[in-house]
Protein backbone atom coordinates (compact mmCIF):
# COMPACT_ATOMS: atom_id res chain seq x y z
CA UNK A 1 0.00 0.00 0.00
CA UNK A 2 2.96 2.24 0.72
CA UNK A 3 4.22 1.42 -2.75
CA UNK A 4 0.89 2.29 -4.29
CA UNK A 5 0.83 5.72 -2.65
CA UNK A 6 4.40 6.43 -3.77
CA UNK A 7 3.68 5.31 -7.33
CA UNK A 8 0.59 7.51 -7.47
CA UNK A 9 2.59 10.46 -6.17
CA UNK A 10 5.31 9.83 -8.74
CA UNK A 11 2.81 9.66 -11.60
CA UNK A 12 1.11 12.83 -10.41
CA UNK A 13 4.43 14.67 -10.10
CA UNK A 14 5.62 13.68 -13.57
CA UNK A 15 2.19 14.44 -15.03
CA UNK A 16 2.10 17.84 -13.36
CA UNK A 17 5.62 18.66 -14.50
CA UNK A 18 4.72 17.69 -18.05
CA UNK A 19 1.68 19.95 -18.10
CA UNK A 20 3.50 22.96 -16.65
CA UNK A 21 6.76 22.71 -18.60
CA UNK A 22 6.72 24.37 -21.99
CA UNK A 23 10.25 23.74 -23.14
CA UNK A 24 10.49 21.14 -25.89
CA UNK A 25 13.97 20.16 -24.71
CA UNK A 26 12.74 19.31 -21.23
CA UNK A 27 9.67 17.50 -22.47
CA UNK A 28 11.91 15.41 -24.70
CA UNK A 29 14.16 14.81 -21.71
CA UNK A 30 11.25 13.59 -19.59
CA UNK A 31 10.03 11.35 -22.38
CA UNK A 32 13.44 9.77 -22.97
CA UNK A 33 14.15 9.38 -19.25
CA UNK A 34 10.81 7.61 -18.78
CA UNK A 35 11.52 5.44 -21.80
CA UNK A 36 14.91 4.51 -20.33
CA UNK A 37 13.19 3.82 -17.00
CA UNK A 38 10.87 1.41 -18.72
CA UNK A 39 13.77 -0.55 -20.22
CA UNK A 40 15.61 -0.54 -16.89
CA UNK A 41 12.52 -1.67 -14.99
CA UNK A 42 12.08 -4.49 -17.44
CA UNK A 43 15.68 -5.59 -16.98
CA UNK A 44 15.34 -5.24 -13.22
CA UNK A 45 12.48 -7.76 -13.06
CA UNK A 46 14.72 -10.52 -14.39
CA UNK A 47 18.17 -9.22 -13.40
CA UNK A 48 17.41 -7.44 -10.15
CA UNK A 49 14.78 -9.74 -8.68
CA UNK A 50 15.73 -12.94 -10.47
CA UNK A 51 19.52 -12.59 -10.53
CA UNK A 52 19.62 -13.56 -14.21
CA UNK A 53 21.82 -10.97 -15.90
CA UNK A 54 20.78 -10.61 -19.49
CA UNK A 55 23.13 -8.84 -21.90
CA UNK A 56 20.66 -9.27 -24.72
CA UNK A 57 17.46 -7.60 -23.67
CA UNK A 58 17.51 -5.95 -27.10
CA UNK A 59 16.15 -9.29 -28.27
CA UNK A 60 12.79 -8.49 -26.71
CA UNK A 61 13.06 -4.80 -27.50
CA UNK A 62 13.69 -5.48 -31.17
CA UNK A 63 10.99 -8.11 -31.40
CA UNK A 64 8.48 -5.64 -29.99
CA UNK A 65 9.72 -2.89 -32.29
CA UNK A 66 9.57 -4.98 -35.46
CA UNK A 67 6.19 -6.49 -34.72
CA UNK A 68 4.83 -3.02 -34.02
CA UNK A 69 6.25 -1.70 -37.29
CA UNK A 70 5.39 -4.65 -39.52
CA UNK A 71 1.87 -5.05 -38.17
CA UNK A 72 1.11 -1.41 -38.93
CA UNK A 73 2.95 -0.77 -42.15
CA UNK A 74 2.79 -4.14 -43.92
CA UNK A 75 -0.33 -5.68 -42.41
CA UNK A 76 -2.22 -2.44 -41.88
CA UNK A 77 -3.25 -3.22 -38.30
CA UNK A 78 -4.49 -0.62 -35.90
CA UNK A 79 -1.55 0.70 -33.86
CA UNK A 80 -2.97 -0.39 -30.52
CA UNK A 81 -3.67 -3.87 -31.81
CA UNK A 82 -0.14 -3.94 -33.20
CA UNK A 83 1.07 -2.96 -29.74
CA UNK A 84 -0.66 -5.96 -28.19
CA UNK A 85 0.93 -8.11 -30.87
CA UNK A 86 4.35 -6.59 -30.12
CA UNK A 87 4.10 -7.36 -26.41
CA UNK A 88 2.82 -10.87 -27.11
CA UNK A 89 5.62 -11.56 -29.57
CA UNK A 90 8.31 -10.35 -27.17
CA UNK A 91 6.80 -12.58 -24.49
CA UNK A 92 6.81 -15.60 -26.81
CA UNK A 93 10.44 -15.07 -27.80
CA UNK A 94 11.30 -14.78 -24.09
CA UNK A 95 9.42 -17.97 -23.31
CA UNK A 96 11.36 -19.77 -26.02
CA UNK A 97 14.79 -18.45 -25.00
CA UNK A 98 14.00 -18.85 -21.31
CA UNK A 99 12.68 -22.37 -21.61
CA UNK A 100 15.80 -23.36 -23.49
CA UNK A 101 18.46 -21.66 -21.36
CA UNK A 102 16.89 -22.33 -17.97
CA UNK A 103 16.15 -25.92 -18.93
CA UNK A 104 19.89 -26.44 -19.24
CA UNK A 105 20.56 -24.48 -16.05
CA UNK A 106 22.58 -21.70 -17.69
CA UNK A 107 23.50 -19.11 -15.10
CA UNK A 108 25.73 -16.11 -14.60
CA UNK A 109 27.99 -15.25 -17.48
CA UNK A 110 26.74 -18.21 -19.52
CA UNK A 111 23.21 -16.88 -19.43
CA UNK A 112 24.49 -13.39 -20.24
CA UNK A 113 26.41 -14.68 -23.26
CA UNK A 114 23.54 -16.75 -24.58
CA UNK A 115 21.13 -13.81 -24.42
CA UNK A 116 23.73 -11.66 -26.17
CA UNK A 117 24.08 -14.32 -28.84
CA UNK A 118 20.32 -14.61 -29.35
CA UNK A 119 20.03 -10.85 -29.83
CA UNK A 120 22.85 -10.98 -32.36
CA UNK A 121 21.22 -13.88 -34.22
CA UNK A 122 18.00 -11.90 -34.47
CA UNK A 123 19.92 -8.86 -35.70
CA UNK A 124 21.46 -10.91 -38.49
CA UNK A 125 18.10 -12.46 -39.30
CA UNK A 126 16.52 -9.01 -39.46
CA UNK A 127 19.18 -7.96 -41.97
CA UNK A 128 18.71 -11.04 -44.13
CA UNK A 129 14.97 -11.55 -44.44
CA UNK A 130 12.62 -9.49 -46.58
CA UNK A 131 9.68 -8.68 -44.36
CA UNK A 132 11.85 -6.62 -42.02
CA UNK A 133 13.02 -4.44 -44.87
CA UNK A 134 16.54 -5.88 -44.45
CA UNK A 135 19.34 -3.53 -43.56
CA UNK A 136 17.38 -0.54 -44.83
CA UNK A 137 14.85 -0.91 -42.07
CA UNK A 138 11.18 0.01 -41.93
CA UNK A 139 9.53 3.43 -41.96
CA UNK A 140 6.14 4.14 -40.49
CA UNK A 141 3.97 6.78 -42.09
CA UNK A 142 3.49 9.76 -39.80
CA UNK A 143 -0.22 10.00 -38.98
CA UNK A 144 -0.59 11.83 -35.75
CA UNK A 145 -3.75 10.79 -33.94
CA UNK A 146 -4.62 8.91 -30.80
CA UNK A 147 -5.97 5.99 -32.84
CA UNK A 148 -2.58 5.69 -34.52
CA UNK A 149 -0.72 5.90 -31.18
CA UNK A 150 1.14 8.90 -32.58
CA UNK A 151 1.01 12.31 -31.03
CA UNK A 152 1.68 15.82 -32.28
CA UNK A 153 2.94 16.86 -28.87
CA UNK A 154 5.58 15.23 -26.69
CA UNK A 155 2.97 15.31 -23.95
CA UNK A 156 0.99 12.54 -25.62
CA UNK A 157 4.03 10.29 -25.76
CA UNK A 158 4.90 11.12 -22.17
CA UNK A 159 1.41 10.09 -21.11
CA UNK A 160 1.82 6.82 -23.00
CA UNK A 161 5.23 5.91 -21.64
CA UNK A 162 4.30 7.09 -18.15
CA UNK A 163 1.47 4.59 -18.29
CA UNK A 164 3.94 1.81 -19.14
CA UNK A 165 6.33 2.93 -16.41
CA UNK A 166 3.54 2.93 -13.83
CA UNK A 167 2.42 -0.52 -14.98
CA UNK A 168 6.01 -1.75 -14.62
CA UNK A 169 6.16 -0.25 -11.13
CA UNK A 170 2.96 -2.00 -10.14
CA UNK A 171 4.35 -5.30 -11.40
CA UNK A 172 7.61 -4.66 -9.54
CA UNK A 173 5.68 -3.85 -6.39
CA UNK A 174 3.76 -7.08 -6.86
CA UNK A 175 7.10 -8.93 -7.11
CA UNK A 176 8.00 -7.48 -3.72
CA UNK A 177 4.80 -8.62 -2.05
CA UNK A 178 3.79 -11.90 -3.61
CA UNK A 179 4.59 -15.57 -3.51
CA UNK A 180 5.99 -15.48 -7.04
CA UNK A 181 8.31 -12.61 -6.13
CA UNK A 182 9.44 -14.31 -2.93
CA UNK A 183 10.25 -17.48 -4.84
CA UNK A 184 12.04 -15.51 -7.55
CA UNK A 185 14.25 -13.75 -5.01
CA UNK A 186 14.88 -17.04 -3.26
CA UNK A 187 16.13 -18.53 -6.53
CA UNK A 188 18.30 -15.45 -7.05
CA UNK A 189 19.86 -15.71 -3.59
CA UNK A 190 20.34 -19.47 -3.44
CA UNK A 191 18.91 -21.79 -6.02
CA UNK A 192 19.64 -25.05 -4.19
CA UNK A 193 18.10 -23.83 -0.95
CA UNK A 194 15.05 -22.70 -2.88
CA UNK A 195 14.69 -26.09 -4.57
CA UNK A 196 14.95 -27.86 -1.23
CA UNK A 197 11.91 -25.98 0.05
CA UNK A 198 9.77 -26.63 -2.98
CA UNK A 199 10.56 -23.84 -5.45
CA UNK A 200 10.82 -24.88 -9.09
CA UNK A 201 13.61 -22.62 -10.42
CA UNK A 202 12.74 -23.32 -14.06
CA UNK A 203 9.16 -22.12 -13.93
CA UNK A 204 9.98 -19.17 -11.68
CA UNK A 205 12.74 -17.91 -13.97
CA UNK A 206 10.58 -18.53 -17.00
CA UNK A 207 7.86 -16.41 -15.44
CA UNK A 208 10.34 -13.63 -14.75
CA UNK A 209 11.84 -13.57 -18.23
CA UNK A 210 8.42 -13.43 -19.93
CA UNK A 211 7.23 -10.67 -17.59
CA UNK A 212 10.42 -8.73 -18.20
CA UNK A 213 10.17 -9.23 -21.95
CA UNK A 214 6.60 -7.95 -22.06
CA UNK A 215 7.78 -4.55 -20.83
CA UNK A 216 10.89 -4.58 -23.01
CA UNK A 217 8.64 -5.32 -25.98
CA UNK A 218 6.44 -2.40 -24.99
CA UNK A 219 9.60 -0.28 -24.94
CA UNK A 220 10.45 -1.36 -28.47
CA UNK A 221 6.94 -0.64 -29.69
CA UNK A 222 7.07 2.79 -28.04
CA UNK A 223 10.38 3.52 -29.77
CA UNK A 224 8.82 2.79 -33.16
CA UNK A 225 5.84 5.02 -32.45
CA UNK A 226 8.09 7.92 -31.45
CA UNK A 227 10.70 7.71 -34.19
CA UNK A 228 8.60 6.02 -36.91
CA UNK A 229 11.66 4.07 -37.97
CA UNK A 230 13.45 0.86 -37.04
CA UNK A 231 16.42 -1.01 -38.49
CA UNK A 232 18.24 -4.17 -37.36
CA UNK A 233 20.98 -2.29 -35.50
CA UNK A 234 18.57 -0.11 -33.57
CA UNK A 235 16.30 -3.03 -32.80
CA UNK A 236 18.70 -5.82 -31.87
CA UNK A 237 22.00 -3.96 -31.42
CA UNK A 238 23.54 -3.58 -27.97
CA UNK A 239 22.32 -0.04 -27.30
CA UNK A 240 18.99 -0.87 -25.68
CA UNK A 241 20.45 -3.88 -23.84
CA UNK A 242 23.15 -1.70 -22.34
CA UNK A 243 20.77 1.16 -21.58
CA UNK A 244 18.46 -1.22 -19.72
CA UNK A 245 21.11 -2.87 -17.60
CA UNK A 246 23.26 0.18 -16.84
CA UNK A 247 20.33 2.26 -15.60
CA UNK A 248 19.11 -0.61 -13.43
CA UNK A 249 22.54 -1.30 -11.94
CA UNK A 250 23.39 2.36 -11.43
CA UNK A 251 20.05 3.03 -9.78
CA UNK A 252 19.99 -0.12 -7.71
CA UNK A 253 19.09 -3.67 -8.71
CA UNK A 254 16.20 -5.38 -6.99
CA UNK A 255 14.61 -2.14 -5.84
CA UNK A 256 11.39 -0.44 -6.88
CA UNK A 257 12.84 3.03 -7.52
CA UNK A 258 16.40 2.20 -8.54
CA UNK A 259 15.76 1.77 -12.28
CA UNK A 260 13.79 5.03 -12.48
CA UNK A 261 16.41 6.92 -10.51
CA UNK A 262 19.25 5.40 -12.54
CA UNK A 263 17.57 6.27 -15.84
CA UNK A 264 16.92 9.86 -14.75
CA UNK A 265 20.49 10.38 -13.51
CA UNK A 266 22.07 8.85 -16.61
CA UNK A 267 19.93 10.92 -18.92
CA UNK A 268 20.77 14.08 -17.02
CA UNK A 269 24.46 13.21 -17.34
CA UNK A 270 23.93 12.50 -21.01
CA UNK A 271 22.34 15.92 -21.52
CA UNK A 272 25.20 17.66 -19.73
CA UNK A 273 27.90 15.91 -21.74
CA UNK A 274 26.00 16.71 -24.92
CA UNK A 275 25.92 20.36 -23.91
CA UNK A 276 29.60 20.35 -23.02
CA UNK A 277 31.01 18.35 -25.91
CA UNK A 278 28.36 18.59 -28.58
CA UNK A 279 26.90 15.71 -30.50
CA UNK A 280 29.80 13.27 -30.56
CA UNK A 281 28.17 9.96 -31.47
CA UNK A 282 28.55 7.34 -28.77
CA UNK A 283 29.70 9.83 -26.16
CA UNK A 284 26.77 9.01 -23.89
CA UNK A 285 27.85 5.35 -23.97
CA UNK A 286 31.31 6.37 -22.74
CA UNK A 287 29.68 8.29 -19.93
CA UNK A 288 27.39 5.35 -19.10
CA UNK A 289 30.35 2.99 -19.00
CA UNK A 290 32.38 5.21 -16.71
CA UNK A 291 29.44 5.76 -14.37
CA UNK A 292 28.80 2.01 -14.27
CA UNK A 293 32.40 1.28 -13.29
CA UNK A 294 32.33 3.93 -10.55
CA UNK A 295 29.00 2.72 -9.19
CA UNK A 296 30.00 -0.94 -9.11
CA UNK A 297 33.26 -0.03 -7.37
CA UNK A 298 32.01 2.43 -4.80
CA UNK A 299 28.24 2.08 -4.44
CA UNK A 300 27.51 -1.57 -5.19
CA UNK A 301 23.89 -1.25 -4.09
CA UNK A 302 23.33 1.49 -6.65
CA UNK A 303 22.24 5.06 -6.05
CA UNK A 304 19.07 4.12 -4.20
CA UNK A 305 21.18 2.04 -1.80
CA UNK A 306 23.90 4.68 -1.48
CA UNK A 307 22.84 5.58 2.05
CA UNK A 308 23.30 2.03 3.25
CA UNK A 309 26.59 1.61 1.41
CA UNK A 310 27.85 4.81 3.04
CA UNK A 311 26.79 3.61 6.49
CA UNK A 312 28.67 0.37 5.91
CA UNK A 313 31.81 2.29 4.91
CA UNK A 314 31.55 4.47 8.01
CA UNK A 315 31.16 1.41 10.17
CA UNK A 316 34.23 -0.02 8.48
CA UNK A 317 32.50 -2.94 6.82
CA UNK A 318 32.81 -4.06 3.29
CA UNK A 319 29.80 -3.10 1.15
Amino acid sequence: MKDLAAITAFAAAVGGLTLTLDSGVWLTFIMMALYASLLAQSWNMLGGYGGQFSFGHALFFGTGAYVQAIAQSTLGWNAWLAFLGAVAAATCVAAFVGALTFRYGLKGSYFALVTLAFAEVFRILAVSVDFTGGGVGLMLPLRESFANMQFASRRGYIGLVLGFVVAAMLVTSWLRHSRFGAQLQAVRDNEDAARAIGVDPWSVKLGAITLSAAFMGAGGAFYVQVFQYIDPGLAFGPVSSVEALVAAIVGGMGTLWGPVLGAAVLHLLGEFTRNLFGQLPGLNMIVYGSVLVLIVMFVPRGLSGAGRSLRDVLRGRRG
Binding site: R179, A182, D192, R195, I197, G198, V199, P201
Partner: protein
Protein backbone atom coordinates in the same frame (compact mmCIF):
# COMPACT_ATOMS: atom_id res chain seq x y z
CA UNK B 1 -5.45 -61.34 14.33
CA UNK B 2 -3.82 -61.52 11.01
CA UNK B 3 -2.10 -58.17 11.12
CA UNK B 4 -0.95 -58.06 14.69
CA UNK B 5 2.65 -56.94 14.78
CA UNK B 6 2.71 -56.15 11.09
CA UNK B 7 5.17 -53.33 10.46
CA UNK B 8 3.60 -50.17 9.12
CA UNK B 9 4.87 -49.22 5.68
CA UNK B 10 7.97 -47.10 6.12
CA UNK B 11 7.66 -43.44 5.20
CA UNK B 12 10.97 -43.56 3.42
CA UNK B 13 12.56 -46.63 2.01
CA UNK B 14 15.79 -46.90 0.05
CA UNK B 15 16.66 -50.09 -1.70
CA UNK B 16 20.11 -50.90 -3.06
CA UNK B 17 20.95 -47.27 -3.72
CA UNK B 18 24.30 -46.66 -5.39
CA UNK B 19 26.12 -43.77 -6.97
CA UNK B 20 29.68 -43.36 -8.15
CA UNK B 21 31.63 -40.25 -9.06
CA UNK B 22 34.19 -41.46 -11.53
CA UNK B 23 36.04 -44.20 -9.68
CA UNK B 24 34.78 -43.14 -6.26
CA UNK B 25 31.85 -45.25 -5.15
CA UNK B 26 30.32 -42.73 -2.79
CA UNK B 27 27.24 -44.77 -1.93
CA UNK B 28 27.11 -48.51 -2.48
CA UNK B 29 24.06 -50.69 -2.29
CA UNK B 30 22.44 -48.87 0.62
CA UNK B 31 19.02 -50.00 1.79
CA UNK B 32 17.32 -48.43 4.75
CA UNK B 33 13.86 -47.59 6.03
CA UNK B 34 12.49 -44.82 8.15
CA UNK B 35 9.23 -45.50 9.97
CA UNK B 36 6.72 -42.66 10.27
CA UNK B 37 6.80 -40.64 13.49
CA UNK B 38 10.34 -41.65 14.43
CA UNK B 39 13.59 -39.82 14.96
CA UNK B 40 16.35 -41.67 13.17
CA UNK B 41 20.01 -40.74 12.92
CA UNK B 42 22.47 -41.44 10.17
CA UNK B 43 26.04 -41.38 11.44
CA UNK B 44 29.43 -42.23 10.09
CA UNK B 45 32.95 -40.86 9.79
CA UNK B 46 33.74 -37.92 7.56
CA UNK B 47 33.50 -38.80 3.90
CA UNK B 48 31.28 -41.80 4.55
CA UNK B 49 28.74 -40.58 2.01
CA UNK B 50 26.03 -39.35 4.38
CA UNK B 51 25.40 -36.07 2.65
CA UNK B 52 25.54 -37.78 -0.72
CA UNK B 53 22.89 -40.20 0.50
CA UNK B 54 20.75 -37.22 1.53
CA UNK B 55 21.20 -35.72 -1.90
CA UNK B 56 20.04 -39.00 -3.45
CA UNK B 57 16.94 -39.18 -1.26
CA UNK B 58 15.93 -35.59 -1.80
CA UNK B 59 16.50 -35.59 -5.54
CA UNK B 60 19.56 -33.36 -5.79
CA UNK B 61 21.42 -36.34 -7.24
CA UNK B 62 20.12 -39.19 -9.33
CA UNK B 63 21.31 -42.67 -8.29
CA UNK B 64 23.13 -44.97 -10.69
CA UNK B 65 21.11 -47.86 -9.32
CA UNK B 66 18.45 -48.54 -6.73
CA UNK B 67 15.17 -46.90 -5.82
CA UNK B 68 13.84 -44.36 -3.37
CA UNK B 69 10.27 -44.76 -2.15
CA UNK B 70 8.57 -42.03 -0.17
CA UNK B 71 5.07 -42.07 1.27
CA UNK B 72 4.04 -44.95 -0.97
CA UNK B 73 5.47 -43.60 -4.23
CA UNK B 74 8.61 -44.30 -6.18
CA UNK B 75 10.40 -40.95 -6.26
CA UNK B 76 13.76 -42.07 -7.64
CA UNK B 77 15.29 -39.22 -9.60
CA UNK B 78 12.38 -36.87 -8.97
CA UNK B 79 13.60 -33.25 -8.69
CA UNK B 80 13.90 -31.74 -5.20
CA UNK B 81 11.06 -29.23 -5.50
CA UNK B 82 8.59 -32.01 -6.26
CA UNK B 83 9.89 -34.02 -3.32
CA UNK B 84 9.39 -30.98 -1.10
CA UNK B 85 5.84 -30.71 -2.42
CA UNK B 86 5.30 -34.38 -1.62
CA UNK B 87 6.46 -33.68 1.94
CA UNK B 88 10.20 -34.33 2.12
CA UNK B 89 12.36 -31.31 2.92
CA UNK B 90 16.08 -31.29 3.52
CA UNK B 91 18.37 -28.81 5.20
CA UNK B 92 21.99 -28.20 4.28
CA UNK B 93 25.12 -28.93 6.26
CA UNK B 94 26.61 -25.70 4.94
CA UNK B 95 23.75 -23.35 5.76
CA UNK B 96 22.24 -21.66 2.75
CA UNK B 97 20.30 -18.58 3.81
CA UNK B 98 18.83 -16.10 1.33
CA UNK B 99 21.33 -13.62 2.72
CA UNK B 100 19.82 -10.41 1.34
CA UNK B 101 16.41 -11.14 2.85
CA UNK B 102 15.25 -10.91 6.43
CA UNK B 103 14.70 -13.92 8.66
CA UNK B 104 10.95 -13.46 8.26
CA UNK B 105 11.20 -13.38 4.46
CA UNK B 106 13.47 -16.42 4.46
CA UNK B 107 11.03 -18.54 6.43
CA UNK B 108 8.09 -17.21 4.41
CA UNK B 109 9.59 -18.71 1.23
CA UNK B 110 9.21 -22.10 2.90
CA UNK B 111 5.70 -21.30 4.08
CA UNK B 112 4.72 -20.29 0.53
CA UNK B 113 4.99 -23.92 -0.53
CA UNK B 114 1.56 -24.54 1.02
CA UNK B 115 0.35 -20.96 1.35
CA UNK B 116 -0.11 -18.78 -1.72
CA UNK B 117 -1.10 -15.62 0.15
CA UNK B 118 1.75 -13.37 1.23
CA UNK B 119 0.23 -12.16 4.49
CA UNK B 120 -0.55 -15.70 5.62
CA UNK B 121 2.95 -16.89 4.72
CA UNK B 122 4.53 -14.05 6.68
CA UNK B 123 2.30 -14.83 9.67
CA UNK B 124 3.25 -18.50 9.47
CA UNK B 125 6.91 -17.50 9.31
CA UNK B 126 6.53 -15.47 12.46
CA UNK B 127 4.90 -18.26 14.41
CA UNK B 128 7.53 -20.78 13.31
CA UNK B 129 10.30 -18.36 14.22
CA UNK B 130 8.85 -18.09 17.69
CA UNK B 131 8.86 -21.88 18.06
CA UNK B 132 12.52 -22.27 17.19
CA UNK B 133 13.66 -19.23 19.15
CA UNK B 134 14.21 -16.83 16.25
CA UNK B 135 11.49 -14.36 17.20
CA UNK B 136 13.86 -11.54 18.28
CA UNK B 137 15.73 -11.76 14.97
CA UNK B 138 12.74 -11.71 12.58
CA UNK B 139 13.64 -8.43 10.90
CA UNK B 140 17.39 -8.99 10.67
CA UNK B 141 18.95 -9.79 7.30
CA UNK B 142 19.76 -13.50 7.28
CA UNK B 143 23.35 -12.66 6.33
CA UNK B 144 23.84 -10.98 9.72
CA UNK B 145 22.99 -14.08 11.79
CA UNK B 146 25.54 -16.06 13.79
CA UNK B 147 26.16 -19.72 12.90
CA UNK B 148 23.70 -20.80 15.58
CA UNK B 149 21.11 -18.38 14.21
CA UNK B 150 21.61 -19.63 10.68
CA UNK B 151 21.18 -23.25 11.77
CA UNK B 152 17.89 -22.34 13.39
CA UNK B 153 16.86 -20.45 10.29
CA UNK B 154 17.67 -23.45 8.13
CA UNK B 155 15.49 -25.55 10.41
CA UNK B 156 12.68 -22.98 10.51
CA UNK B 157 12.60 -22.58 6.75
CA UNK B 158 12.35 -26.33 6.28
CA UNK B 159 9.66 -26.64 8.97
CA UNK B 160 7.66 -23.92 7.24
CA UNK B 161 7.12 -26.24 4.28
CA UNK B 162 5.10 -28.46 6.65
CA UNK B 163 7.05 -31.60 5.81
CA UNK B 164 6.15 -35.18 6.62
CA UNK B 165 9.82 -36.08 6.60
CA UNK B 166 12.57 -33.67 7.56
CA UNK B 167 16.11 -34.48 6.53
CA UNK B 168 18.44 -32.59 8.86
CA UNK B 169 22.04 -32.41 7.73
CA UNK B 170 24.19 -31.62 10.78
CA UNK B 171 22.04 -28.91 12.30
CA UNK B 172 24.23 -29.04 15.40
CA UNK B 173 27.63 -28.79 13.72
CA UNK B 174 29.53 -25.64 14.61
CA UNK B 175 27.39 -24.90 17.66
CA UNK B 176 28.89 -24.53 21.12
CA UNK B 177 27.76 -26.87 23.94
CA UNK B 178 25.20 -24.39 25.23
CA UNK B 179 23.70 -23.89 21.77
CA UNK B 180 23.55 -27.67 21.32
CA UNK B 181 21.73 -27.95 24.65
CA UNK B 182 19.22 -25.40 23.38
CA UNK B 183 18.73 -27.06 20.03
CA UNK B 184 18.17 -30.66 21.18
CA UNK B 185 14.72 -30.06 22.69
CA UNK B 186 13.64 -28.25 19.52
CA UNK B 187 14.54 -31.23 17.37
CA UNK B 188 12.77 -33.55 19.78
CA UNK B 189 9.68 -31.35 19.79
CA UNK B 190 9.53 -31.42 15.99
CA UNK B 191 8.97 -35.19 16.19
CA UNK B 192 7.14 -35.68 19.45
CA UNK B 193 5.53 -32.31 19.96
CA UNK B 194 5.83 -30.08 22.94
CA UNK B 195 3.14 -27.84 24.34
CA UNK B 196 5.39 -25.07 25.67
CA UNK B 197 7.13 -24.42 22.35
CA UNK B 198 3.93 -24.76 20.37
CA UNK B 199 5.42 -27.39 18.07
CA UNK B 200 2.71 -29.94 17.30
CA UNK B 201 5.13 -32.76 16.51
CA UNK B 202 4.25 -35.49 14.08
CA UNK B 203 7.14 -34.80 11.73
CA UNK B 204 9.43 -37.72 11.00
CA UNK B 205 13.08 -36.77 11.24
CA UNK B 206 16.14 -38.36 9.71
CA UNK B 207 19.24 -36.56 10.87
CA UNK B 208 22.88 -36.72 9.93
CA UNK B 209 24.78 -35.92 13.07
CA UNK B 210 28.31 -35.99 14.40
CA UNK B 211 27.47 -34.74 17.86
CA UNK B 212 27.11 -38.11 19.63
CA UNK B 213 25.60 -36.50 22.71
CA UNK B 214 22.66 -35.50 20.53
CA UNK B 215 22.43 -38.85 18.77
CA UNK B 216 22.39 -40.75 22.05
CA UNK B 217 19.87 -38.32 23.42
CA UNK B 218 17.48 -38.09 20.51
CA UNK B 219 17.62 -40.99 18.12
CA UNK B 220 15.46 -44.05 18.46
CA UNK B 221 17.27 -45.79 15.66
CA UNK B 222 20.71 -45.27 14.16
CA UNK B 223 22.11 -46.23 10.79
CA UNK B 224 25.89 -46.22 10.40
CA UNK B 225 27.48 -45.48 7.07
CA UNK B 226 31.19 -45.95 6.35
CA UNK B 227 32.88 -45.68 2.97
CA UNK B 228 29.54 -45.59 1.24
CA UNK B 229 28.17 -48.74 2.83
CA UNK B 230 25.85 -49.40 5.74
CA UNK B 231 27.86 -51.22 8.38
CA UNK B 232 25.48 -51.26 11.32
CA UNK B 233 22.02 -50.38 12.50
CA UNK B 234 20.22 -50.43 15.82
CA UNK B 235 19.62 -48.40 18.93
CA UNK B 236 22.26 -45.80 19.82
CA UNK B 237 23.63 -48.06 22.55
CA UNK B 238 23.88 -51.02 20.18
CA UNK B 239 25.73 -49.25 17.41
CA UNK B 240 28.19 -47.50 19.70
CA UNK B 241 29.23 -50.90 21.03
CA UNK B 242 29.50 -52.42 17.58
CA UNK B 243 33.08 -53.40 16.70
CA UNK B 244 32.65 -52.47 13.06
CA UNK B 245 31.44 -49.01 14.02
CA UNK B 246 34.29 -48.41 16.46
CA UNK B 247 36.78 -49.48 13.84
CA UNK B 248 35.20 -47.32 11.18
CA UNK B 249 35.83 -44.30 13.36
CA UNK B 250 39.09 -45.23 15.02
CA UNK B 251 40.81 -47.62 12.65
CA UNK B 252 41.25 -51.33 12.09
CA UNK B 253 41.93 -53.40 15.20
CA UNK B 254 41.02 -50.67 17.66
CA UNK B 255 37.87 -52.37 18.95
CA UNK B 256 39.89 -55.29 20.34
CA UNK B 257 42.55 -53.02 21.74
CA UNK B 258 39.99 -50.83 23.48
CA UNK B 259 38.45 -53.91 25.05
CA UNK B 260 41.90 -55.05 26.12
CA UNK B 261 42.61 -51.72 27.74
CA UNK B 262 39.27 -51.73 29.53
CA UNK B 263 39.85 -55.15 30.99
Amino acid sequence: MCCEGAVAEPLLSLSSLSIAFGGLRAVQDVSLQVAPGTLTALIGPNGAGKTTLFALMSGFLEPDAGTVRFDGHDITGQPPHLNARAGMTRTFQVVQPFAAQTVRENIAVGAHLREPRRAAALAAAESIARRVGLAPLLDKPAGDLTVAGRKRLELARALATRPKLLLLDEVLAGLNPQEIEDMIPIVRAIVHGEASSGLPGGVTVLMIEHVMQAVMNLAEHVWVLAQGQLIAAGTPAEVTNDDLVIEAYLGHGTAARLRGAAR
